[in-house]
Amino acid sequence: MRTKIVILALIAAFLLSQLLNAPWMQFIAQQPSQIIFLWLSFAFFIVLGVPISFSLGLSAVFTAVFIQLPVLAIFQNLSNGINSFAFVAIAFFIMLGQIVNESGMGNDLLALANLIIGRLPGGLALMNVLTSMLFGGISGSAVADTASIGTVMIPMMERQGFSREFSTAITVTSSLEGMIIPPSQNMIIYSLAAGGVSVGALFLAGYLPGIVMGLAQMAYILILAPIRKFPRGERIARDRVPMILLRSLLVLSVGFFVVGGIVFGLFTATESSSAGVGLAIIIFVLFYRKNMTRANVMRILTGSVRTTAMVLFLIANATAFGYVMASLQVPLLLSSAITSLTTNPIVILLLVNLLLLVLGLVMDMAPLIIIMTPILLPLVLHAGMSAVQFGVVMLINLGIGLCTPPVGNVLFVGCAVGKTTIEKTTRQLLPLYGIMMVVLLIITFVPQVSLILPNLFHL
């Protein structure tokens, strides 16, 4: 522990020396020292345990003082960072996720998944993955997906003989599909950060990669099933089938309504998200009334308010941080550094993936999208990747980060729901990380997987 404190103290001393322009700091050239100051101060606050949003804001403020930028501009950017209509859509998508989560709509999707693949070997694990894909088609929040499906599936899988850690690992990794399959709030953030890439095109681009990711995880379960003697799921009585189909189609219609409204040009992203919430409320009132208790409604509303505030405050601070980075010309420097290393597009794309994966390990998704998109987009465009495909690639990279320690919100929620430790779950996660990496490479180097649907709809 003493070593850790010494390391922290040394970083603090280094930052203070730079801030006060100490004579012994003169050996570092001006621009690199400013960039080092920005990132090191951010890392210092993060390690100290300052919330990520405040870490971004504080490092931006201190760097502004250091490089003599007006601090006023930091807070102007912070406020302007969320001053866009598209962010209203994020609030509504969060609300949609909360409604799906609390209303019990997930249970019908679970029954549909059971109907489709439940009787295969490893049925419950397969159901877990398929439910995440279906759930992602409405909610788009990996954390909501893990919490909602995990609460039901992990104990159920354990009772059927799956280990608790394996059940948690499958729940955690399958939530990645929820993030890629539209609607996805992170795609809207990317669309804004990329300077207005079509949200409709991004939504359509997410379907196939999400399905490929899900199928790859299912293939792994099917391979493992005879080795670990996974049981099959329970048979569903025939008379229940029509009701399951009807109710789950009703639930899925919310997702299709939201995505369809944008793709066919009926609504903007904001309008489509609010109309989606409206439709979800109608379905909730008409078909899930027994879950419409005062406590559930309050949980939906407070959860929406708190999550929206947290996510958008992160984005606001990331915009301020991004402003300082732009002032320091970091995007230009990084792209020239990478292109000076190699001009081979394959190597450039591999390096970009590696960078995103590493950053995803230690930072949350939304701020990384805001900060890294302006830096990396010109580079990948230069390497021949389209902005729409890069959106999907970025989401997968950062989504993997959410399932990995040390900073993995989805992993944390999964372990909390599964009542197990991160260490034990990580052992079960290792082969799944490998599978996700392979799918990531396929999606990076086979553009058709992402672009076939947007091209089909001329988006």
Binding site: G49, P51, V71, R306, M310, V407
Partner: protein, 161 residues
Amino acid sequence: MRRLERVLDLTERVIEWIGIVVIVAMLIISIAEIIGRDLLNAPISGSLDLTLLIMIWMVLLVSGIGVWSDLHIRVAFFVDTMNEMAKQVISLIVFVAIFFFGSEMLIQSIPLIQLPGIMPELKIDNSWLFVPLLVTGIVTMAAAFGRILRIVITFRASKKT
């Protein structure tokens, strides 16, 4: 300390309720805008700007008071490995840093509020966009101060025992 805790708890509840009213209002305005424009051919002027403005207020206010209730996500893997004493000292530094951020937010918001300009759709002063920064600065400082006090009192109590 108890009085401050009570004030902060009450502020949190009030702001949370304001947030709930705002998010419901946002939804109603947005749906009314769709119905007005697409079905009745009568778009509501300024509805989008109003939705955005009240959302900014909601986000900043809830974020400010969120310091009191640990709303914001943070990375705890480093701090969690330390002993109780070190944890408390580090928490103290964290909330002092947040207090400083709140104070900067408050100070810098004043010239921003004085900037000229009008929101064309709503026909109100641009300062309405920056006033929430000022209020959030105050709320953040109060919440961080409350947390600092709580840490100091816990530290003193543990030292006595």
